[in-house]
Amino acid sequence: MVKTELYPLALTVNGRPVSARIAAETTLLDFLRDQGFIEVKRGCDKGDCGACTVIMDGKAILSCITLALQAEGSRILTVKSLGSWERLHPLQQAFVDYEALQCGFCTPGMLLAAKALLDHNPHPTREEIREAISGNLCRCTGYQKIVDAVEAVAKGAYR
């Protein structure tokens, strides 16, 4: 057996420093889930479905096709960075109010894709919302209520 070479990795997840020694081929998704961030979901492992979306240094990325070592020194946000049971993030509250989810499996990634959009473009059109979440597949909702929820936040209903 070839001995796997391990490399040091240090980054922050939801503001918390995380470090480990990992194999070079470890994806960011595997790394995060191994570290207990199981709110990051694996739907396809090929960059097709968007369930593994996290925000890396302000940008929504697919953690399943990002090597963990590429995230060295970066700031990663998962859905758990958004809000708490007592105080939901506006997007989370809108997703609840608009029933912008059913099974909830795509929801963590969908929320982060929406957050990354609004962080860069606070007043998107419906078309821009549809474009921004088009890499995040949802098989349950038909997207209607997701677009409605994001639009409601963009229009200031949850300020």
């Binding site: 097709d48 708490s84 049971w85 609840v96 909830g104 795509c106 597949l137 098989r139």
Partner: protein
């Protein structure tokens, strides 16, 4: 008749949704245990072959491998289920499938061996060390070929494993009376469920020797199948169902549970198995592709006089639920229309393709592609408005269908179709001269509740705590559609509690009363009725005690806001907690276990279906507006509307969710989804080759919810999950036809098919 409810009928959002937006749900793959092993399945790379040699020695020897299992290690390798209701006239009577290949490989991807290892990467490496040699056997991949006597046999002596018929009146006489007849062949795709969550679970042996399997299960009763394969008493296998990340029928047949149990049983350690996305493609069933040959005749005034149809489904390599799916096809084949003369012959045929089984719509929805296209074409030939033509033929309450079902609930098809078309609003203008805009609609019917000869039951237990809150136990799994939340709403409504005062424990085969499967659009109908019965029993216990304490008749007692009061004299009231305490003091525990029974009928004894099979039907319509690019054949959906009579919307949010999600999944079925195989070799096993609708493919969807309160579920609800997909495919086909004057009869209507259809038309012109 409509009544004011405190909870039912509102937009209920809160508890389930909050955990989901916070990322708190522990889905099947999120769960772990100390000492966890990681499993993988070794699968065949031939569609039809004999396994000449299988050597797992090197894999077993790999450091970190805990166990490699082959068919020889499986106590009872053949999982056998009687398919109730199949006749003795055709083919196999039992849905045999082998857990692991012993000798013969019948489809590409069939499981051959199981590996459990200390890490996922060791498990993956072990797969590469398994050595296998095949001897190719002739295969058959076209169901029409497979029906020929000379075709290679997949099992037994006959590839036709089910055949059902409808016989009503005299079709020859009917066609003789027809003034217009249309006759066409339609084909529907092999659709993949494509839930975003892969099949997954963890199994372990507990300290009482019980095999526990915590997995994404639409049917927790599969503990019985696991017990059969392991040769254990059913009481030694426990299924703990997770909240499911989408299923649509994909998690209805056996997936990971048997493999997990075998590995945990052999190793004595906890084991996790999660399918890869590719494995979801080649390792699990699909929707049956159909060949539909329809001949429909009508009088000049639009009245239907005869239908003759031949319906053929590709069952793939194993039987699974194909005979049942075909029953649905046969019963639904007429569409929601009263036709005096009907002759339908339906066949399900084995091939060496991936096996096919349950998928939302379950053989009923494919029929809508044919029966609705036929209606459109008859209307066009007669120069009639397509809705006016349909209106002359819609089933009405009290009508008896060709399969002898009496329609007992309301049929609001005309209202649905009109509302859907009107909701499209003003017609869009094409973006350029090469683009054409068209719109169309389709109607459908779909049963809800399992077939009545299966004698379906559902149980539920309700208890009031001393503080007035309630605990409900129900076996029903939550597929993501909010099934658990509907149970909460029903119990809260009956007991006069708030939603967060009711806790629902669900989906554990040894803790919760068995409530049956989350399939067949039965969850609200069956488990909702069971919850209502149990909550009403508890309510009666409280009412009787409160009546005594208040000096009022029990029937006058109402419960609201944790208060019991007399409706005749609302001033006479008591805190609910006082009543509960009094009950307990006297030894009357405010709890109840109740079972709801669906109507029971006898097993089918003839291959002609001529007795009621379904508890009831849901009716609805969808309308679409599309823009077709005549140079590329691309279809862009501009607008969508969906209208169903749901009986009663227990949770309006979730009802709309089903309708919108069904529309999108049906849009995919109509326009883009097809799981392709070439001589059994899968070609579209991931989500960049198998395309499902994205947020840019689905337009804004208008939802129109009608409530006749005439259904068989709680508060007059009908089922909506499966009906919601039915009209979508034919609606989009109708809109394309309206735009370009050519009908696509082979779905999905991909750009290629639309392009060549346009060429053909121009060629002919």
């Amino acid at each position: 008749m409509s009544k004011d409810y405190a909870i039912v009928g509102k937009r209920l959002a809160g508890l389930d949704e909050k955990d989901k937006v916070l990322g708190n749900v522990i889905f099947a793959d999120d769960f772990t245990m100390p000492g966890l092993l990681h499993a993988r399945v070794f699968r065949a790379t031939k569609a039809s072959a004999r396994l000449k040699r299988l050597d797992v020695g090197k894999a077993r020897a790999l450091p970190g491998v805990a166990c490699v299992l082959t068919a020889a290690d499986v106590p009872y390798n053949e999982s056998v289920k009687n398919v109730v209701g199949q006749t003795t006239e055709v083919g196999l009577l039992e849905a045999k499938h082998q857990v692991l290949v012993r000798e013969r490989v019948r489809y590409w991807g069939e499981p051959i061996a199981l590996v459990a290892a200390e890490s996922p990467s060791v498990a993956r490496d072990a797969l590469r060390l398994i050595e296998v040699e095949y001897e190719d056997l002739p295969g058959v991949f076209d169901p029409l070929e497979a029906m020929k006597p000379s075709a290679p046999k997949i099992h037994g002596n006959n590839n036709v494993i089910a055949s059902w018929k409808l016989r009503k009146g005299d079709v020859e006489k009917g066609f003789a009376e027809a003034e217009v007849i249309v006759e066409h062949e339609y084909r529907t795709p092999r659709q993949e469920h494509a839930p975003i969550e892969p099949e997954s679970g963890v199994a372990w042996i507990d300290d009482m020797g019980v095999v526990n399997i915590r997995y994404a299960a639409q049917v927790i009763e599969h503990y019985r199948d696991v017990a059969t394969v392991l040769g254990l008493p059913e009481s030694r296998v426990r299924v703990i169902g997770t909240l499911i990340g989408g299923g649509f029928g994909g998690k209805e047949d056996v997936t990971v549970e048997v493999f997990l149990a075998l590995l945990a049983w052999k190793t004595g350690r906890p084991v996790k198995l999660t399918y890869t996305r590719e494995e979801m493609g080649y390792g699990r069933h699909k929707r049956h592709p159909y060949i539909l040959r329809y001949k429909t005749g009508a009088r000049k005034d639009g009245t239907l006089v005869a239908l003759e149809a031949e319906v053929i489904s590709d069952a793939g390599a194993y039987v699974y639920l194909s005979p049942w799916v075909l029953i649905y096809s046969t019963v639904h084949s007429t569409g929601p229309y009263l036709i005096p003369n009907v002759k339908v012959d339906a066949y399900s045929v084995l091939t060496n393709n991936i096996y096919t089984s349950a998928f939302r719509g379950f053989g009923g929805m494919q029929m809508a592609v044919a029966y609705e296209a036929q209606m459109d074409e008859l209307a066009a030939r007669l120069g009639m408005d397509p809705l006016a033509m349909r209106r002359k033929n819609f089933l009405k309450t009290g009508d008896v269908t060709a399969s002898h079902e009496e329609i007992t609930s309301q049929v609001r098809l005309e209202e649905c179709a009109r509302a859907a078309m009107e909701a499209l609003g003003e017609k869009s203008r094409p973006a350029s001269s090469r683009k054409k805009v068209g719109r169309g609609f389709a109607c459908c019917w779909q049963s809800y509740g399992r077939m009545t000869f299966l004698h379906d039951t559902s149980s539920c237990w309700v208890n009031l705590e001393m503080d007035g809150s309630a605990v409900v136990r129900t076996g029903i799994p939550d597929l993501g559609g909010g099934q658990r939340e509907s149970i909460r709403a029903v119990a809260a409504e009956v007991l006069g509690l708030k939603l967060d005062e009711v806790h629902v424990i669900s989906t554990d085969s040894q803790v919760t009363p068995l409530s049956g499967t989350v399939t067949a659009t039965r969850a609200l109908y069956m488990s909702g009725n069971a919850a209502r019965l149990a909550a009403e029993s508890v309510r009666r216990i409280i009412a009787e005690q409160a009546a005594e304490m208040l000096g009022a008749p029990p029937e006058a007692i109402e419960l609201r806001d944790k208060t019991a009061f007399s409706a005749k004299d609302p001033g006479r009231k008591l805190p609910l907690t006082e009543v509960i305490k009094r009950c307990l003091f006297r030894g009357t525990v405010p709890q109840s276990l109740n079972t709801f029974k669906a109507p029971f009928t006898e097993a089918i004894t003839s291959d002609i279906i001529q007795a009621p099979i379904f508890p009831d039907f849901t009716f609805g319509a969808q309308a679409a507006e599309v823009e077709v690019d005549t140079e590329t054949g691309e279809v862009k959906v501009l607008k969508w509307a969906t209208a169903y009579d749901v009986g009663k919307a227990v949770n309006l949010n979730r009802v709309e969710g089903q309708m919108e999600g069904g529309a999108a999944q049906g849009l995919g079925f109509g326009l883009m989804e097809d799981y392709l195989e070439q001589d059994g070799l899968p070609l579209t096993w991931n989500l960049h080759d198998y395309l499902i609708p994205t947020s840019r493919d689905v337009p804004d969807i208008k939802c129109i919810v009608l409530e006749s309160e005439s259904g068989k579920g709680p508060f007059g609800a009908k089922g909506i999950a499966e009906p919601a997909i039915g009209a979508a495919g034919p609606a989009v086909v109708s809109a394309i036809s309206n735009a370009i004057g050519v009908r696509i009869r082979h779905l999905p209507a991909t750009p290629e098919r639309v392009f060549f259809a346009l060429q053909g038309k121009e060629g002919k012109g």
